[in-house]
């Protein structure tokens, strides 16, 4: 022990405790992911009202579109596609409010400071949020498809279930990766964030061709399919689950899968940099990550 009371081996001890092996880092990251995903998956059993609201909004929207289609005498295949789109919409809504808006909400409730001071990377926390959100929403999406099918007699003809599963997986992964990128934007945007969330709702449903074919949007549809994961995911899923509507697809399914894969990689890289940015800026100026009041 030195005269000042500081252990002589302090530097070595800090180094030993913070320089983990790769396996230790991976194990720790995995534990962090599971820890953050847990409340999102099991939280609904403790708060049934969350499940209610997660189901009621897409269901009401779905019913409106179904009745609108019926009032126009549209093909029943479009009603099946609308139910599928409503299921996909639960994921998109989760991406907007439970991913993009989450860090801002955590900041306002005081948790963001804890995240930064805890020995856990923001990447692990974001991945846990995404995994938990996607698993929780998959349950809700399943209920919507089941309920919608029973209510409106929708039918699906899935000839390539593995391809459909891969499309859903890539689509959801790309959407949640985009959600992490947007989390930084929401955090920086302050009180405009709520309105930003609103702007990502209906306008993106239109651009993403969720309830009507993206092909009908012309040049905007092509643009959307290149930057918005919702567009290729919805278009490919419609082609795979409702083959009668395959002609409404903008691009062949394998091409849209490729686009989703590229989006996933690009958005994952961007999210890595955006998380590093907010952590660096938050630590530097002490304002971004702490609640205003």
């Amino acid at each position: 022990m030195s005269a000042a009371g500081v252990p002589k081996d302090l530097h070595a001890r800090i180094y030993a405790e913070t320089e983990w092996s790769l396996s230790h880092k991976l194990r720790h990251a995995a534990q962090s992911v599971v820890g953050r995903a847990y409340p999102r998956i099991f939280g609904m059993s403790r708060e049934p009202s969350w499940l209610f609201f997660d189901l009621v909004f897409p269901t009401l929207g779905m019913c409106s579109f179904v009745f609108l289609l019926r009032s126009r005498g549209a093909d029943e295949a479009w009603i099946s596609a609308t139910i599928l789109a409503s299921a996909l919409l639960t994921f998109w809504t989760s991406v907007i409010w439970m991913m993009a808006g989450q860090f801002r909400w955590e900041r306002d409730s005081g948790n963001m400071t804890l995240y930064i001071t805890a020995p856990v990377g923001l990447g692990s926390i974001a991945l846990g949020m995404a995994v938990g959100g996607a698993v929780g929403m998959a349950f809700r999406a399943g209920i919507i498809i089941l309920g919608g099918s029973l209510l409106f007699g929708a039918q699906y003809e899935i000839r390539e279930p593995l391809l459909l599963a891969l499309t859903m997986l890539l689509g959801i992964a790309a959407m949640y990766a985009l959600g992490v990128c947007l989390a930084a934007v929401f955090l920086v945007s302050g009180r405009e964030a709520d309105h930003l969330g609103d702007l990502l709702n209906e306008p993106m449903q239109l651009l993403g061709g969720l309830f009507a074919p993206v092909r009908s949007l012309g040049i905007f549809g092509l643009l959307a399919i290149g930057i918005l994961p919702l567009a290729p995911a919805a278009d490919a899923m419609r082609q795979l689950a409702v083959p009668q509507l395959a002609a409404s697809g903008l691009l062949p399914v394998p091409v849209e899968l490729g686009i989703l894969a590229v989006m996933f990689v690009v958005f994952s890289l961007l999210s890595h940099f955006s998380l590093a940015f907010i952590e660096r800026r938050g630590r530097a100026d002490g304002k971004l990550l702490t609640r205003a009041d």
Partner: protein, 302 residues
């Protein structure tokens, strides 16, 4: 030395209750309403530069309209009558949604976000005009979006009434409709302050249900019979139909279209009077109960 004599307050009397939400004379109420409307404008209209606010007010409702028109085009080529039906329904529902959710959001904002509701209770202001003032400004901002939607509708081929809008009819149905919706909104607010969880979600859920039932984007006849009856009992259904007749000069297809305009106005008037009589009483009961149970300090955001 000055002496202080204790003030006797009869807490059991409903008429002389000093701390209820409906106190003060008309002038106090008017002052509270104007002050809360100014506050609401600062909250709702001051979060961005005017240009960005206008862009926001334009983009979202037009995207909503585009979404419905895109779905509508699935069933075949769009005809002007269908465009007019959807445009007016969607435009008016902007106001319905805002006015209906306004009072609840104002109460919950003051209780949970700004934590000022306890201070409003401690002032001579009455909570009812405060809530109404906030709702009216939200409705006014939504009305800007509604006008933009109708303008775009006219540009894309919506058939307007020959000789221009029927302004007297439009003014009457707007006044009646707005009064009834704000009335329903304050009743909803009084219910939502009682809730233990997720009080923020219920107004949106109610507005979503009303959107489905009131024939905003498809004729009421498309709904199953039981839902048609519920839809017919909603003042918004008659309001939207009245605005369609005033702007388009034609009635909706189906059941509503068969009714004469005077009968439509009569139904809307009766509904509005009933709501106007009941809503402040429900509001008073709800707020009194919330105060007595200590719910005015509660936070339901999860």
């Amino acid at each position: 030395m000055e002496s202080c004599s204790p003030v006797q307050i009869d807490l059991t009397s409903r008429t002389s209750r000093p701390f209820g939400p409906l106190r003060g004379d008309a002038a106090d109420a008017a002052r509270s309403l104007i002050a809360s409307a100014r506050l609401a404008w600062a909250i709702e209209g001051n979060w961005a530069e005017p240009f960005f606010l206008l862009v926001y007010l334009i983009i979202r409702p037009l995207a909503f309209l585009g979404l419905f028109l895109a779905v509508l085009s699935i069933g075949g080529a769009l005809n002007p009558a269908s465009i007019g039906f959807v445009v007016v329904g969607q435009a008016v529902f902007q106001i319905v949604g805002a006015a209906m959710q306004g009072p609840t959001h104002a109460l919950l904002d003051d209780r949970e976000r700004y934590r000022t509701i306890r201070y409003i209770f401690a002032t001579p202001s009455s909570l009812l005009p405060v809530s109404i003032g906030r709702a009216l400004v939200k409705a006014l901002i939504a009305a800007i979006s509604a006008v933009i939607v109708i303008g775009v509708g006219a540009l894309i081929g919506m058939p307007m009434r020959a000789g221009g809008p029927d302004l007297p009819l439009l003014l009457v149905v707007m006044a009646l409709g707005l009064t009834s919706i704000v009335g329903l909104g304050i009743a909803l607010g009084a219910v939502c302050v009682q809730l233990r969880n997720d009080a923020w979600g219920y107004p949106q859920a109610v507005a979503g249900s009303v959107f489905l039932l009131c024939g905003a984007i498809f004729p009421l006849d498309t709904l199953p019979r039981a839902l048609q009856l519920i839809g017919a009992a909603l003042p918004m259904t008659w309001w939207i139909e009245g605005v369609r007749r005033a702007l388009l000069g034609t009635a909706s297809p189906g059941l509503l279209g068969e009714l004469s305009t005077p009968l439509l106005l009569l139904v809307l008037t009766v509904g509005t009077v009933l709501i106007t009589l009941a809503a402040p009483r429900l509001f008073r009961i709800g707020i009194d109960r919330a105060r007595e149970k200590g719910y005015l300090d509660r936070s339901t955001a999860s």
